[in-house]
Structure formats: C-alpha cells, structure tokens
Point group: C2
Chain length 362, copies 2
C-alpha cells in the first residue's frame, strides 16, 4: 500500500516527515481529490510522518470532502495559514528532518518554510519526484480506471468523427469534443484538445483556430479526458473525403512506425530502443528529421508523467507502466500525421488499451 511504501522510504532516508504539495501525489497518497485553482491556490497539503497517523491540512471549504475521501488521514484546518499550523505541529511530532517537494513548492513558500525550520531547529530536505517514482507502475485497479478513460475517449471521438464535415472549424470540433466529454461524465479534458487541419498539423502542439476543415486534407485530432482522476490520451489523423497520394503515403509510414513501436514494447526493453524501433521506420522512409518528439510518455493521474519514451532515455520499461505510442511526421507548410495509442507494458510484450481503429487502415 502506497502510504506504507512512503513510510519505508522516509525511514530509510532518516526523514521524520514529508510535506506533499503536488496535487496528483496528494491524491495518490491520500485519496483526496480536491482541485487546486493554481499552485498558489491549493486545496490542501499532506504531512506524512515516518510513523504514526498522517495529516491532511486544508481550509474550511474542503473540510467535508477531505474527511470523506482521506479516511486514514487526520484532517486539520489551517485557518491562519499553513506555516502557522506547521509551527505548532512539527515540534509536537518531534520532526527534526522535514522533506518537501522541491519540484512543486514556490520559492517564496520555501523561503518562509526555511526560516520557520531555522527557528525550530529543523533540517529541510528538498526532494524531487519521489512519489512520481511510485506512480510509474500502475496497479490493476489503476489500469482499470485508465481503461475506462480510454474507452470513454473513444466513444467521444467516434461520435464527433461521424459528424465531421468539411466547413466545420478546428475550434468548433474541439469544443464539440470537450463538451461531449463532460456530458458523458468525464471530469474534463486532460489537456487542451488539438484539432489541426491541413498546414496547421505541422505543429505538434497546434491550438485550434477558426480555419474550416477542407475536403481531402489531413486533420490531426489529439484528445484526452480525465475520469475518476485518471487520464486518456489518443490521436487520430483523419480526412473528410478522399485523401491524396501524399497523405496516404505519409500515413502508412506513421502507422507502420506505430505498429513497430508497439511491438518493441516489453518489460526490460529500454525506452530508447522502443523509440528507436519506430523512429527507424520513419528515418528509412526519409523523414527522420520530421519526427522531432519522442515516441511516447507515461499516462496516469497526470496526462504526461514518467516514463519518457524517447531517444535519450536508457531507462528500462517495466511491467505495469502505461505509455503512449505516438510517432508523427510534420512537414512545414503541408501539415502532419500523428497516430497515438496507449499500451500497458507487460512481461511478454504489451496490452493495447485502444479498441478504436478509425482510419488506421488508410
């Protein structure tokens, strides 16, 4: 159980307690689903001692929700601010070494925490990506939630795809997708939906414009949603009407690269080898310099999380990781093709989470 795992980590590192501020880590460790407006407007912070009952500090707006969701945690209110509460709490818990999430605490907050620690004779330990490391391998229950997110994603895509017509603008299609996600029960999109038609597809992170979709041009639809906290991420490249020869040619290369990339995935394979297998197909076809991003990334509570599956990473894939496989070719002035599925890494290979085959056999 994740809380025990964290306690063992703290004990090994001789850290008396850790302050958890990163929202997905907070949810992973406590079950509390509070939504932060921004890093400066948090809905709560965990304080987990190496032994004994952990705490969830929040304000009155979130009290009932926190108590209901984080049953193992003692919920307390920081009515005079987090620092004032820590000033009381840390000595009571005899904390001498306090860990915090260096990658999710503002410099200004850390400076205040540091001066409090000085006063209390506490040593601060900046930590990075500790709980992110725990999150990399998914439990069966997590995979089930991700599967549901992928399935709902496909339902939404199918409906919008069937109604896709030339003349609809990128923005209209993106709005339709995000509205339908919410109507079907998603918490919302897991990232800003990309609908990139014709030349706009040359930018991997295109923002939808008022450009009407034209017959025959490739349209990249990259969409994800979040449900029960877990994310999906899927890309299809589709065409209204008949695709031209160039589109078909590039499409087939990307699809071939995707199939090879998926087949290369297996516990024990390095991320760069999986990436390289897909990349080689695109390079051999003469488009190596038109595939500027990595093959994929982890997906879970966050839509972008470890592991990175790219040409730099020597890390090995492990069973239970969930990653995207999303090769692409981007031609400035012309447009782009990207195809993205999600897979679970297994001991023998991979399990494909997507069922949707729309436009994959061009």
């Amino acid at each position: 159980m994740v809380l025990d795992r964290l306690r063992v980590f703290l004990q090994r590192r001789k850290i008396d307690a850790i302050l958890i501020t990163q929202p997905e880590n907070r949810r992973y460790i406590s079950g509390y689903t509070g939504h932060d407006v921004s890093i400066a407007e948090s809905s709560g912070v965990l304080l987990v001692p190496a032994t004994g009952r952990p705490f969830l500090f929040t304000d009155s707006r979130y009290l009932l929700q926190a108590e209901a969701e984080a049953a193992e945690f003692q919920v307390e209110l920081y009515s005079k601010g987090l620092l004032a509460l820590l000033k009381k709490k840390l000595p009571l818990l005899s904390v001498k070494r306090l860990g915090f999430e260096s990658h999710y605490l503002l410099h200004a907050t850390a400076a205040k925490l540091s001066s409090l620690a000085d006063k209390l004779g506490i040593e601060l330990m900046p930590l990075s990506d500790v709980i992110e490391g725990f999150r990399v391998k998914k439990s069966a229950e997590e995979i089930e939630k991700i599967r549901q997110a992928v399935q709902l994603n496909e339902e939404v895509f199918q409906k919008v795809f069937k109604e896709l017509r030339p003349g609809q603008t990128e923005r209209q299609v993106a709005l339709k997708i995000e509205t339908l996600m919410r109507k079907k029960g998603a918490d919302g999109p897991s990232f800003d939906t990309i609908v990139a038609a014709g030349p706009n597809g040359a930018l991997p992170h295109a923002v939808p414009t008022n450009r009407p979709i034209q017959e025959g041009e490739p349209v990249i639809i990259d969409m994800g949603l979040k449900i029960n906290g877990y994310c999906s991420d899927m890309t299809r490249t589709v065409v209204c009407g008949a695709p031209d020869t160039k589109t078909k040619k590039l499409f087939r290369i990307v699809r071939k690269a995707q199939l090879a990339g998926m087949k290369a995935i297996k516990a024990g394979v390095t991320a760069r080898d999986a990436d390289g297998t897909a990349r080689k197909i695109i390079s051999n076809a003469g488009f190596g310099d038109r595939f500027g991003h990595g093959l994929g990334h982890g997906v879970g509570l966050a839509v972008h999380e470890a592991p990175s599956v790219n040409f730099r990473s020597r890390k090995k894939l492990r069973a239970g990781m969930v990653v995207t496989v999303e090769p692409g070719i981007y031609i400035p002035g012309w447009g782009g093709i990207r195809l993205e599925n999600m897979v679970v890494v297994t001991g023998n290979g991979f399990e494909l989470l997507n069922r949707d085959t729309t436009f994959l056999d061009l």
Copy 2:
C-alpha cells in the same frame, strides 16, 4: 508604457535584469499570449534588462506566436533548456544583479538558478508582486476589454437563465454555461463555474453536483469568462418558481448590502471601510457570522488579483482599479445567497460594469 515602468523600477533598485515567469505578468509586459500547461510546463520566460532590448525565451512550438505578439522583444529559443541559455546570456548582458519572481518560480528551478548565479558571480534578488503592483490600476484600454468580458458573461447568463428549469442538475447547468461561453468566442471560463442549488449554496466555493434544481429553492450561479485575456466574474442567486419568505428576506439583505458596498466605493476609501459598509448591513440584520469572506477582489488578466477588498486591508482604493462587490449570507443546511457585480473605482465613486438586473429586485 509598462515596459518603461519596469525599467525605471529596475534602475531604482539597481537590478540589472529581471526574469519574468508568471504568465499574466509575462503577457502584461510583452503582449505574448502563450498558454502554460502548468508551472512546470511553461510557454516562455521574459528577461528584461534595465536598459536595452528585452528578450522572450521559448521553445520552437511557440516561436511564430511569440514573434508576432511580442514585437518589442527579441525572441530566442532555449533548445537546451532555460538555464543553459541564461548561462550564455547573462554574462553577455553584464548582469550582476538578477531579479526573479519568487512567488512564481519552483524551489527546484530556483536552486538551479542559484547555483548558476554562484558560478557566474551574479547576485539573485527574489522579488514578489512587482508587476502585480503595476497591474492593479487598469488603463482605459484594459477597462474596455474587461467591459467586453462582462457583457459576454451577461449574454451567456441571460440565455441559460431563460432556459433554467426545475430538474436540470447543477452539473448540466454549469456545462451549458461553459459551452455557451466558448461558442460565443470566450477563451474559456475564468474559473470553474459554480452552480449551487438549495443547501449546496451554503459553501461559497461549491462544486456542481448531480443534484436536480428544485422549484422554489435559491440557486447560486457564480460564473466568469476570459476573452482577449481579460476576465469577468459575476454571481446571481435565482429561483425557479416562487421564492419562499426566508429566501426573499435574506436576498433583500444581501442586495441592500451590495448596493451599500458599491456606493461606499470611491478613490481614497480604504478597502476595509468599503467592506465594512456592506458588512454592517448584514451584521445589523443578525447574519454577521454568516458572511465569512471579503466583500471583493480585483479582476483583470487574472480573475483574482489585487486589491483584496476585505475587513483586514487598510489599503486605499485608487481610480482605475476594477473590483467585485459580492456580499453573501451562507446558512449551513439551508443554502446561500450571493450577489456579485464588478465596478471600476473612479475619483467620484464607481462605475458599474454590469447591466444585468436579473432577479435583483426580489
């Protein structure tokens, strides 16, 4: 002009350059509208020297947009990361003292910046809320943009209100509002829309649930949108069918407090005095302990920004500030009433930005 104002600030404080990471500040100073996925996934950073041409550092995805929008800035790519670029750039610009936004830089990033600064013999100056201070007083052009946001907000509210029926759930109504905002051209909501029916209205920051709206109960609708970067924020409390005696009674108290609060607003008045004027009406009616939040807050590029208009702030309101006036009464188990308008502070008093009078004369 804002860039000159920033340069004067830097010269006075003997700071050679400032690094701007906060997204609204970046937009305010440069005009660049790039959207950050999160504090860890930025779309760009400004480096503004006390004299000479300022820089906008970004990655290739945002290059064209940055160049088009931030014409006064020299746009450069950080292909090997921000720190690597700064390592080259800071010595070239002879920076000896470098300011940064302590309230919008992660501890981990600040630690790396600090070790770079040590190597280069640069003194780091943590700064907070400098540009936020510039943003407090709005220009005529900014007020015009805010007015447009308020107007669009009211159009959306009007349409949804006219179609409001018992049986619609809070979530359905919130989704309808957010969809309509986008259809009418807004960038999106400026915060998560609140639709809180009956007892749910007792929480000032309620999250929409699947509760169907019932005839006769008060429904708080708190909604805002963003268009051209500027925000609106408006609350109405409405009833499907005939409100009961208690609703009417509380509603009239809140409305009276709102009118008094607006009339108290004028350049030179302290925030606490404006708050106090409205609060007194609610207290005198016996509900002082049921109005737990401040009277209002500034609105601009951010939906919550300075000034805070509450009982603690001794700061004086100044002409050109744009603030909300939003008293409320919250009764646990029963529900709540809140009414929120936006006003511009003027030398003689205030200008009401709202035209909508739905349900204000209960």
